[in-house]
Every structure is written in structure tokens, then in C-alpha cells.
């Protein structure tokens, strides 16, 4: 079911409770009573259309009217992406780490194997951190530069030089598959790890991994299908303006 501006915000959570994390990123807090999506967004100063696109893309992975989403400013998109980064590093990853830590502590049947998972996840964390840093230090600033240049009257030579050095195509090429190791970890636990004595913790861990993977998938989808095509169009526009291409 598609989420529209008129349905109750409470029902959005009832439909898919994973949406909670999305609301959090927009700064929307629980306790919205019977307010609609639109009313809630307005109360929190959130662009309702942008919220709707993000939440629908999250709830239904086949939903993707990229044309509509593409009309939002680049800043809005990168701000959202930035918030998801914070959510991974400050909330989700520590949660998963502490679950694994508890598992190691309370496991007496196969401590050694669980320690392997711990090491594996710590390797993943480093990978994720590098990935995020690269986006925040290189990619996002570049997209802002392009957006500013696109809307300005005259094209600065410096911008053109920077476009020579880096382009969104490079980002797309090096944008690696950051979900890969999560996928592996899930499969190791589901298929190959003999069930440990503290199985509830193990189930919780699996649940968390599924959640994080879904979230990261959604995140990459927005980068690849919204941000990249938008910036590519703008790059073209700038080159046209500067007379580099016809």
C-alpha cells in the first residue's frame, strides 16, 4: 500500500514498524495522536513530499518514481543520507557490537566461533566507516559544488577544473557493494554456525542484521537512482553553459 499525505502517521508505523528509524531521521517524534502524515510533517518543519518519497521507497522496494524525487534540492537528499550515516555509526553498529559482545560473554558451547563473528563484524565496521567518510568528505561536497554552479549565472573556471578531477561517474564506479559482508554474516549464522546456547541473543542479532541490511540497501538505492542521475544531468548542464559541449 502506498503511503499518502492524508493517512494517519500512526498507521504508517503500524504498517511497517521499521519506518520508525526513518521518522527519527527527520526528527519526528512519537506521540502524534491522530495527526495525518502531512500535519505531522508540517509540525516538524519537514517537506511532506520529500518525506513521502523517502518513506514509500523504504517501505516498498519496487516503488521508485525517481522523476518526482529528482525535483528536490540536492542538499535535502544529502542531508538525509548524512543522517542515515549517523544512524548506522551511532545507533545500529554499536547495538550489533554489544549484542555480539554479550554473545561471546554468555556463550560456553562455542566461544571461539562467536569470537570469529566478532572479528568479522569489526572488519565490516571499518569498511563501513571508510565508505561513509569517503562519501561525506568527497562525494557530498562535490554534489553541493555542482548544484551551486548549476544555478549560478557564470561558470567559475575552478568548478570546471574540479569536474575534470572528479565526476559523479567516478563515484558510481567506485561505489562498492557495502552490503556484501552483512549478507555473508547473515548466511554464516543461518546456515553454518551451530546454534549456540544463548540462542535468543543469536536471534536478536540476526534480526538486527536484517534490519541494517535493508536500511543500507535503501540508502544505496537513493544514492544510485536519485543522487547520481541528478548530478549527472547537472554536470551536463554546466558543461553546456560553459560551452564545452553543444
Amino acid at each position: 500500500m502506498m503511503i499518502t499525505r492524508d493517512i494517519k502517521m500512526a498507521d504508517v508505523i503500524h504498517m511497517n514498524h521499521f519506518s520508525l528509524s526513518i521518522l527519527d531521521r527527520f526528527g519526528i517524534e512519537l506521540g502524534f495522536g491522530d495527526k495525518s502524515v502531512d500535519e505531522t510533517c508540517k509540525a516538524y518543519n519537514v517537506d511532506t513530499d520529500f518525506f513521502l518519497e523517502i518513506i514509500n521507497a523504504f517501505v516498498d522496494k519496487d516503488y521508485f518514481p525517481k522523476k518526482q524525487l529528482q525535483s528536490f534540492p540536492v542538499k535535502l537528499i544529502t542531508e538525509y543520507l548524512q543522517k542515515t550515516h549517523d544512524y548506522y555509526m551511532q545507533v545500529k553498529v554499536p547495538e550489533i557490537e554489544s549484542l555480539i559482545e554479550q554473545m561471546v560473554l554468555t556463550c560456553y558451547t562455542q566461544k571461539e566461533n562467536i569470537s570469529l563473528l566478532e572479528r568479522f563484524f569489526s572488519g565490516y565496521k571499518t569498511e563501513l566507516k571508510n565508505h561513509i567518510q569517503r562519501e561525506e568528505k568527497v562525494v557530498f561536497p562535490y554534489t553541493h559544488l555542482i548544484e551551486n554552479a548549476f544555478y549560478s549565472e557564470r561558470i567559475d573556471k575552478k568548478v570546471l577544473q574540479q569536474m575534470e578531477d572528479y565526476s559523479i561517474d567516478i563515484f558510481e564506479k567506485e561505489h562498492d557493494d557495502i552490503e556484501e559482508k552483512l549478507f555473508d554474516l547473515k548466511n554464516i549464522i543461518i546456515k553454518y554456525l551451530p546454534q549456540p546456547n544463548n540462542k535468543n541473543l543469536c536471534h536478536n542479532l540476526l534480526h538486527e542484521l536484517f534490519g541494517l541490511e535493508k536500511d543500507i540497501n535503501d540508502h544505496s538505492r537513493i544514492e544510485d537512482k536519485v543522487l547520481v542521475p541528478k548530478i549527472r544531468e547537472m554536470e551536463k548542464g554546466i558543461k553546456k553553459k560553459a560551452g564545452i559541449i553543444a
Binding site: 568479522f120 559482508k181 555473508d184 548466511n187 553454518y192
Partner: protein, 197 residues
């Protein structure tokens, strides 16, 4: 055999209904869907991979042709063209079987069965999901941190063979990364923990 999904690209409602009446009698076909334009076909293919497409080549717009053809080739989708009386340019969509509108019911089914036949044969040899002894050897070497070239030299096989083995290992285990494969190797006692490093 879970049944094959069939997609029909055709705008004439009469031909749509006619074809589905004929095709419904083929038990291997699980599901028939219709699309009216090549744009619709393309967006459909982005989400779902049918086993077979029957298409009216006149409906494929030039600017969609390449993308459709690429997907068809990549996903190994079978295609059959509908052939009309009037003269038409031959489509460059992969696959050459055609259904002529003057065919009898049985002839049409025969063309489709012939295409499906190759489909069913091609799907068979994928069954075994456990690692072969050779693949276990490779897993052991990957876990020890060897590169493709080092593995090839050590086991006296070509790098190409190593890569093929690795692809199969990843598919069978559902594990892609080297560190993931290492954990698998330890859990399954292919290597001991102190053997690494």
C-alpha cells in the same frame, strides 16, 4: 519445475486473448502477463524476469531495442516473435523463433514447446548445492589468504579455473567475501584456527 512465466508484448486485444487461449493449454506455463508497449516491457523486465517473451516486433521502439536486447541476453530469456502478413523489418532481439498468425493452434503450441524444451534442459544441471572435494580445496586456500594466481600455481590449474570454482563456491554457500569464506572454512574444520596467520 515450478512453471514458467510468460510475457506477451502485443497491443491488439484480439491477438492477446487468442494467444492466451491457445497457450493456457500448455501446463508448463504458470502465468501469462500482457504489456502494450516496449516502454512497459522494459519497466516490467526491471523487476521480473520471465522465462519467455512473445513479442510483436513492430511495437519495439528503436530507443528501447538495445536495453531490451541486453536484458534478454543477460537473463537468457527466450523470445518468440509474432509474424504478421505485412512486410516488417527483422527484429534484432535475441532469438529467432516466430509464430505466424496463420498458424494452427497446434503449430503455435509446438513453437512454444520447442522454446520451453530448451529452457527446461538448460535449468537442470544446477542441482547439487554441496561443495565438491575440489571446491573444498579451493576454500581452504582462499581461507589461507592465497590469491587466485597462487592457488592456480599450487593446485596446477589455470587461473580461469580458479575463478570458475570461486563463482560456484559463492553461489553454493551464499558467501561472497574472503573473510566470510574463512569463517566457513573454520566452522567446517577445513582449516584450524591456528593455521591462519
Amino acid at each position: 519445475m515450478p512453471g514458467i512465466q510468460l510475457l506477451i508484448l502485443e497491443e491488439s486485444i484480439i491477438i492477446q486473448h487468442g494467444l492466451s487461449a491457445v497457450i493456457e493449454k500448455i501446463p508448463a506455463i504458470r502465468d501469462i502477463r500482457f504489456v502494450n508497449s516496449s516502454r512497459e516491457l522494459l519497466s516490467f523486465l526491471k523487476h521480473i524476469t520471465p522465462g519467455l517473451i512473445i513479442l510483436n516486433p513492430c511495437l519495439i521502439e528503436k530507443n528501447h531495442l538495445k536495453s531490451i536486447d541486453e536484458i534478454v541476453k543477460k537473463e537468457k530469456i527466450k523470445t518468440i516473435s509474432i509474424h504478421y502478413d505485412k512486410i516488417q523489418a527483422t527484429p534484432s532481439i535475441h532469438g529467432n523463433n516466430t509464430i505466424d498468425l496463420s498458424y494452427s493452434e497446434e503449430q503455435i503450441r509446438e513453437v512454444i514447446r520447442a522454446e520451453l524444451g530448451t529452457l527446461q534442459q538448460e535449468k537442470k544441471p544446477k542441482e547439487k548445492e554441496t561443495l565438491s572435494t575440489r571446491e573444498e580445496d579451493i576454500v581452504r586456500e582462499i581461507a589461507m589468504g592465497l590469491s587466485n594466481k597462487e592457488i592456480a600455481d599450487k593446485l596446477f590449474i589455470s587461473q580461469h579455473t580458479v575463478i570458475t570454482h570461486r563463482k560456484n563456491i559463492t553461489r553454493k554457500l551464499g558467501i561472497k567475501s574472503v573473510s566470510g569464506i574463512t569463517i566457513y572454512a573454520i566452522l567446517n574444520k577445513l582449516i584450524r584456527m591456528n593455521e591462519m596467520e
